[in-house]
Assembly symmetry: C2
Homo-oligomer: 252 residues x 2
């Protein structure tokens, strides 16, 4: 893709497809460990002196460091705990100004956090706890950041779609008609294809690779059927939600 416009519809589609791999890798890594519900429980007494859940504290502190090193200068990145983040020590990078400034006010990470902890994790993490709190928190952060990046990429998707056909979107934007915008952004056959692809990827990346056999006896590191559910119930609807929010601000 060297030399091509990184914000063409094709480049953006390629990025979304590549981000599927990142999401699946991170879920496979998290699936190594059991659920460890204490990690997510803000009333958990095994972490004395820590208010809020252990994961919450870990993510807050890690995001503060990542902010210092410039993570949130990128319009592709959205923090889970945006309040009181320190300034970046790294001078502003030359991110091309692609998005409408209204994009900065769209952050649905609270919803993503809630879905990840309460709906997605119980689908694939085995019950129980092994006290590997730190390794699991690091895996959770990877998963959360990968999902957040993918879903908020809807801002770029919406910008490219709008630029390609402003006349198609402008009436619904002016009318603040969310339903009409959602309809314009929904392509069921594409969504079905994405769901099939992520399931196939989970099978390929989650197989146990050995030198002897080329089939994996149906054993996968993460149940492949979790992926089409994740995409069908949450990733794609939330991406479109971000797209709608972006379009509603696009003509401000």
């Amino acid at each position: 893709m060297a030399g091509s416009d990184p914000f063409s519809l094709e480049s953006i589609r390629n990025s979304l497809i590549r981000q599927e791999d990142t999401i699946i890798f991170s879920l496979i890594e998290r699936a190594k460990y059991p659920l460890n519900p204490q990690l997510y429980d803000s009333r958990c007494s095994i972490f004395p002196g820590i208010a809020g859940s252990l994961l919450e504290n870990f993510v807050k502190e890690t995001e503060a460091i990542q902010a210092k090193f410039g993570r949130y200068q990128s319009p592709e990145e959205n923090p889970f705990f945006p309040d009181n983040l320190p300034d970046s020590l790294v001078p502003p990078q030359s991110h091309p100004q692609v998005l409408h400034p209204g994009a900065a006010s769209i952050n649905i990470n609270k919803t993503i956090w809630d879905i990840y902890i309460n709906k997605l994790l119980p689908l694939f993490a085995s019950e129980g706890h092994d006290e590997n709190y730190m390794c699991i928190s690091a895996c959770d952060l990877e998963c959360l950041q990968a999902l957040s990046r993918r879903i908020h990429y809807g801002k770029f998707v919406a910008e490219v779609k709008f630029k390609d056909a402003p006349e198609e979107y402008s009436p619904a934007i002016h009318a603040k008609d969310r339903d009409a915008l959602m309809k314009l952004l929904t392509f069921e056959s594409v969504e079905e294809m994405v769901k099939k692809r992520v399931e196939k990827k989970a099978k390929v990346f989650g197989q146990e690779v050995t030198l002897n056999n080329d089939d994996c006896n149906g054993k996968f590191k993460i149940d492949p059927s979790v992926l089409p559910r994740l995409y069908g119930e949450w990733v794609m609807p939330l991406t479109k939600h971000v797209e709608v929010e972006y379009l509603l601000r696009r003509l401000d």
Copy 2:
């Protein structure tokens, strides 16, 4: 493996095999970005007010947080910057005391850091820079921690091998004969098999999965031949180095 002894030779072998996947996933993620040599240059003037390279600073600060959340209570984890790490806020976990106490003094992360930055990265990261410093630093940390965990796992390998046949290792330990120990720990046919397996894994996990075709046209996200080199030249020799160091302390 539920219920089985996590420190049997078989469990340890299974862990080493599973860690191959983690290492390959993390390298594939790093390969998304070009090299960005500024990130590793301690004299780089684009980060005013920061002494040391950006990656060094990022890893130091992240390790400090991870220490607070208990990472280095686990005998499987070794910090890259062990000086002045804060105490853990999390109460001591019930890690079984498997290793000889001498294990704690073995930390070859300086060597691993040097090899990763100066030898491994140039083998697979494309030239150039894209200023994605923070995302790359996070990928580098994943790679470094995965390699460090794998290589220092040699402590557990050595312990199990010693316990299985103390009479085989004790004379060389008493004689402080590193060469003899290295010979006892080297199984060339096994090493060849590992190299073949990690190359195959890189092909499987690094392919572009699409719904239409099941071959990947020879396009991989990371050159699969990097993996047998990584394992043959660095991972396996360094693991054996850790094993020798551990055995030399085993009878103290």
